[in-house]
């Protein structure tokens, strides 16, 4: 049995025929192609593809073994190779996306379970020395001594507007302490450093607010890859389902790991008038964080209507649209002073230029 491993040939799948064989193998196991793969590996027994797996950023996905060769180490061979390739590319922390039913199999390969969307759903696992426990321990040193029953908001702030400010102010007035998590993934037009800095400066007067990095565990390319895709690409039922799946995973992880670690009992969110992805996320939040049967403590979700100016909701996408249209005077009315001053700074010029030339959702 073990000797058969020597009969398998591993290679990177590239040609049309190989990719078709891989798609067929994934479909036969009830999986779909993840898309955006950086690397697709296949294991061949002669001409036949017996196993496949892919690397999407730092996420191992699309791992399947043909019926009849299970239990012979094909999955382990593929996963070992993917890990080596990823580490060779300088990654220190990896994730693995699979069905909940298969999660146990990868736990025996050294992956730790992070969250799932239920026993028939999907699961996210991680691998590496810097896991969620270490990340949470780092956060806890900065939240030590803060009161319990805290509230949380998660914001991208691309850039920080009066709408975000109103939400934060409202949440802070309702809770003993408020944690503001800023999405850390650098895939937005405004860089993370700028976004979090503007949130910090724009909330410095609120005494019960701590601004924290979202890390790899809150709306990241591991927990919520579809968040960063343009709206044009998020069309059709299949992608709406993908967004729901990722939103569910992100929320399950928040509820299972992050909320208990920081004693968070409430989550505040602003209504989303423009973006379909965010409005799905908000709807799922009400459903999943308050569900009595979920994993982790039940949270209360509060949705606050968006701040309006001149009869229109204030949002970062509106601000970006105004920048694109060259209407900076109107922008001034929609953003806090810190954001406005930054937008007028020299550092902002290349980013404003980028916004004018882009139609990215983010």
């Amino acid at each position: 049995m073990g000797g058969e491993a020597f009969g398998w040939e591993e290679k990177t799948l590239a040609g049309r025929a190989e990719l078709a064989a891989r798609a067929a193998l994934l479909h036969s196991r009830g999986l779909t192609e993840p898309g955006d793969e950086d690397l697709i590996l296949g294991l061949f027994d002669g001409e036949q593809l017996v196993a496949t797996g892919a690397l999407v950023g730092s996420v191992l996905e699309g791992i399947a073994v043909a019926e009849g060769v299970e239990g012979e180490g094909a999955a382990v061979t593929i996963v070992s190779s993917l890990i080596k390739q990823a580490v060779g590319r300088g990654m220190r922390q990896l994730f693995l996306f699979t069905t909940s039913q298969e999660a146990g199999r990868f736990e025996t390969m050294g992956f730790s379970f992070l969250a799932s969307t239920g026993s028939k759903g999907v699961a996210l696992l991680e691998w590496g020395m810097n896991g969620i426990e270490r990340w949470l321990a780092g956060l806890k040193t900065r939240t030590h001594g803060k009161p319990g029953n805290a509230a949380a908001v998660v914001v991208n702030c691309n850039p920080f507007t009066l709408g975000h400010r109103a939400l934060i102010e409202y949440a802070a007035s309702k809770a003993p302490w408020l944690y503001v998590f800023v999405v850390e993934e650098d895939r937005s037009l405004f860089p993370f450093k700028v976004r979090i800095d503007l949130v910090r400066r724009g909330t410095a007067d609120l005494r019960n607010v701590t601004v924290l990095e979202g890390g790899p565990y809150i709306i990241s390319s591991a927990t919520f890859p579809t968040y960063f895709i343009r709206p044009a690409a998020v069309g059709g039922d299949a992608s709406a389902r993908a967004v729901e799946l990722h939103a569910a995973l992100d929320l399950a992880l928040f509820r299972r790991h992050i909320a208990p670690a920081l004693c968070i009992t409430d989550r505040f969110v602003g209504t989303e008038p423009y973006c379909a992805t965010t409005s799905i996320y908000n709807r799922m939040m009400e459903e999943l964080l308050q569900d009595r049967d979920g994993d982790g403590p039940v949270l209360r979700v509060h949705e606050m209507p968006r701040l309006e100016k001149n009869g229109e909701p204030v949002s970062a996408s509106k601000v970006r649209a105004l920048i694109r249209g060259g209407d900076l005077d109107t922008v001034k009315e929609l953003v806090p002073r810190a954001t406005w001053e930054w937008l007028r700074s020299r550092e902002a010029a290349p980013i404003l230029e980028k916004i004018r030339n882009s139609d990215s959702r983010h």
Binding site: G90, M109, G110
Partner: protein
């Protein structure tokens, strides 16, 4: 021995061990051991790992040992190879 990059040796296959070495915050070496036979051999795996770390004089590194029931000679070989690869200047 200076660790300059991340490197690995071994695999997750049965009777093997996957060793990952990466530059660490230092000083010293931090390591984590996982094993399917941790109850029976956890102590021995740790002491072998410590021994190899001491013998190679590796500094400022993190080492992850994921054991799938490897023999001691396999574990030593994987550790030495992963450390040597991570210390290569390339």
């Amino acid at each position: 021995m200076e660790i300059t990059k991340s490197a690995m040796a071994g695999s997750l296959e049965s009777s093997d061990v996957l060793v990952t070495v990466a530059p660490g915050p230092g000083p010293g070496v931090e390591f984590k051991v996982e094993s399917i036979v941790i109850k029976q051999f956890g102590k021995r795996i740790r002491s072998v790992t410590e021994e190899v770390i001491a013998a190679t004089g590796v500094q400022n590194a993190t080492i992850q040992v994921q054991d799938r029931g490897a023999l001691e000679c396999t574990l030593r070989a994987r550790l030495e190879t992963a450390i040597a690869r991570a210390a290569e200047s390339a």
